[in-house]
Symmetry: none
Subunit: 376 residues, 2 copies
């Protein structure tokens, strides 16, 4: 895992997909040109934030704040930063599969430019997600609000791409059975998770917490997917992807970061298949025709169905349709019609009387589905 390939080696090996689960050394845009079109399922990008720091910053006790002042975060103007942003986003767009999605994280220094450029390039914004930091750095001068969050943009390749991966049911089940919101709460990366060098200095100034990446990856990818991180840094994306049974591709310029990331990822133990199975909902279940209930003898032609409160009733016909008040149609169409609605889920609307109580015909569909499950 996590072999480090110079760009030259990579280009000769694309056919064997040797770039899977490796870190490509080189400039982001140039390295991306070596990847095939539509070759990755998802992208997580943590680009330079273009922080505009005036001078040095001291805490109230006069200790020096170790700010992000690396060369890679220096841009001479918004125009230069915009050109850089457009270039790497375009390159990412080409390698992204048509139904793939991209995540970009940033702060108020850069995220507005990034978001506008994403829209200009026809990415279709699905959500902006707020990472609320449990333990953000205070504002030492007391001149602003404490900058306690960062923003992530989640987008599909274009507006027409409707089949992107979103594990809605799993997220909901893991969140007290209510849907996951756009504001997430996580601690910043610190303690034993934070990579340090031999001198105890942090390896990377903006290492992201694994919990954040875990939710990103669990929500919008499937096991076996390929996740690209064009600004790999300390390799959080790769470490979490490996642990969660996904593949990764990282791009990084600095050898120190590559070395630290490769060692980190090598130490990761992937989870087993059982632990990685994702909870799915009804949408993922096989379709069952209402006719199958008749054929299985679970309901019979002539039988009366009603809604849960017995306000409406209909008769089952031998062809698998229902009739009521001289009208006929599928369980869905007729359910909609009697209520005066445009649409209706007939499976949950229509009920049958089992002698004791009214039960939705959806329970009979479950019987059929359980029988089907034994066959494979």
């Amino acid at each position: 895992m996590a072999a480090v390939l110079p760009l030259a080696d990579l280009q000769g090996q694309v056919r064997r997909v040797s770039w899977l689960n490796s870190i490509i050394k080189g400039d982001c845009v140039a390295a991306l040109e070596a990847l095939p079109d539509h070759s990755v399922d998802a992208i997580f990008a943590d680009p330079p934030y273009n922080l505009q720091l005036g001078g040095t910053l001291h805490r109230p006790d006069q200790s020096l704040v170790d700010a992000v002042d690396d060369d890679w975060d220096q841009f001479s103007s918004f125009e230069v930063y915009d050109a850089f942003t457009r270039a790497w986003l375009l390159a990412c767009r080409r390698v992204l599969k048509p139904n793939g999605t991209i995540w970009v994280i940033g702060s108020y220094h850069n995220i507005f430019r990034v978001g506008a450029i994403m829209q200009d390039l026809n990415f279709w914004l699905l959500n902006d997600i707020v990472w609320r930091k449990v333990n953000p750095m205070p504002n030492f001068k007391g001149r602003r609000f404490q900058n306690a969050h960062e923003t992530m943009i989640w987008a599909s390749r274009d507006a027409k791409a409707k089949s992107y991966t979103f594990n809605y049911d799993a997220l909901k089940a893991s969140n007290e059975d209510v849907q996951m919101r756009s504001d997430w709460l996580f601690p910043i990366c610190s303690g034993s998770e934070r990579l340090k060098d031999d001198d105890g200095k942090k390896v990377h100034p903006t290492q992201k917490p694994e919990a954040l990446l875990a939710r990103v990856i669990m929500s919008s990818t499937k096991p076996g997917d390929v996740i690209l991180d064009p600004f790999f840094g300390s390799g959080t994306t790769g470490a979490v992807a490996k642990r969660l049974g996904r593949n990764f591709v990282g791009i990084e310029r600095e050898q120190d970061y590559i070395d630290a990331a490769a060692a980190r990822i090598a130490a990761v133990e992937p989870l087993g298949k059982a632990e990685l199975t994702v909870m799915t909902g009804k949408k993922a279940e096989p379709r069952v025709a209402f006719n199958a209930l008749i054929e299985a003898g679970l309901v019979r032609p002539g039988q009366v169905l009603t809604d849960a409160r017995r306000r409406f009733s209909a008769i089952i016909r031998a062809d698998g349709t229902l009739s009521a008040n001289g009208e006929a149609g599928s369980i869905h169409r007729l359910g909609a019609k009697v209520q005066g609605f445009d649409a209706c889920n007939g499976w949950t609307f229509w009920h049958f009387d089992d002698g004791q109580s009214l039960k939705p015909i959806d329970e009979l569909r479950t019987v059929i589905r359980n029988d089907l499950a034994k066959l494979d």
Copy 2:
């Protein structure tokens, strides 16, 4: 208060500052041209969001969602929206005092374009503030994360303006003696605060809560300051400004909104000097997702949970659900399922073995809650 002046009247009366505490009827940019340079201390702008809605949306109960489809929110392209944004921001910049600040609120549909243009026009971003909605509208189709926040940008007129108003100590004192963070929690505007017409219909589709405006105004203005709102709508800015002893200027095109806002503001009773302090409310115990335990490392995927008497067991999966006997679900659903019940409190039912004894996972939730207690 709140006299409504047609633009023509205004221009002849500028010297007497007759526009103070009034609503100017007219187009935003044209009306702004009639105001003197450097004449307002702060600006709060709630521009059109440029929502691009495909068709109609129904709730699961088939009721129709009353979407924002007003003419004033329709733009033919990003270019047109950008030009509009640049025009009103430039006009605002001219009337803003050198040490004044501006707030702009938006959603992911427009806020990235707005923020980038503000930077291009040399506004200096001080913070982005996240309004976390207590009670946002759900995502009915389960295709995205629940869009549970909006974003505000707070900026000074330019980078050199260091003497802007920021009531740091008052905010801190009103916030349990810790710095005010960049993520704010407020309910949406509803109930008796929401303006309704005689038919019970909402007067304005996007009326903002007064609590939100109150924090904006208390944090970045002084009593007696002039606050401009170039998209006045239902007049929340004016109502809160009057109550908090500030002056306002509103600009609005639609007569219906002007009438409603004028009546609303007329009914406001200004607070006395002593009462101009911010109130905060403690919320009930925060909801904790089971996923938070995994993300915090308190439990791990693959780990086995049992009930208190070890009659039932289940395995934790990486997506935050449990699985047992080929079935899966949330801690609550699966707890109910294995027992054959309709419902179950998974927090007290499922236990983990800490090496000495079985303990309910509810104890781990307490650990998380203690961390959270600092935040809400």
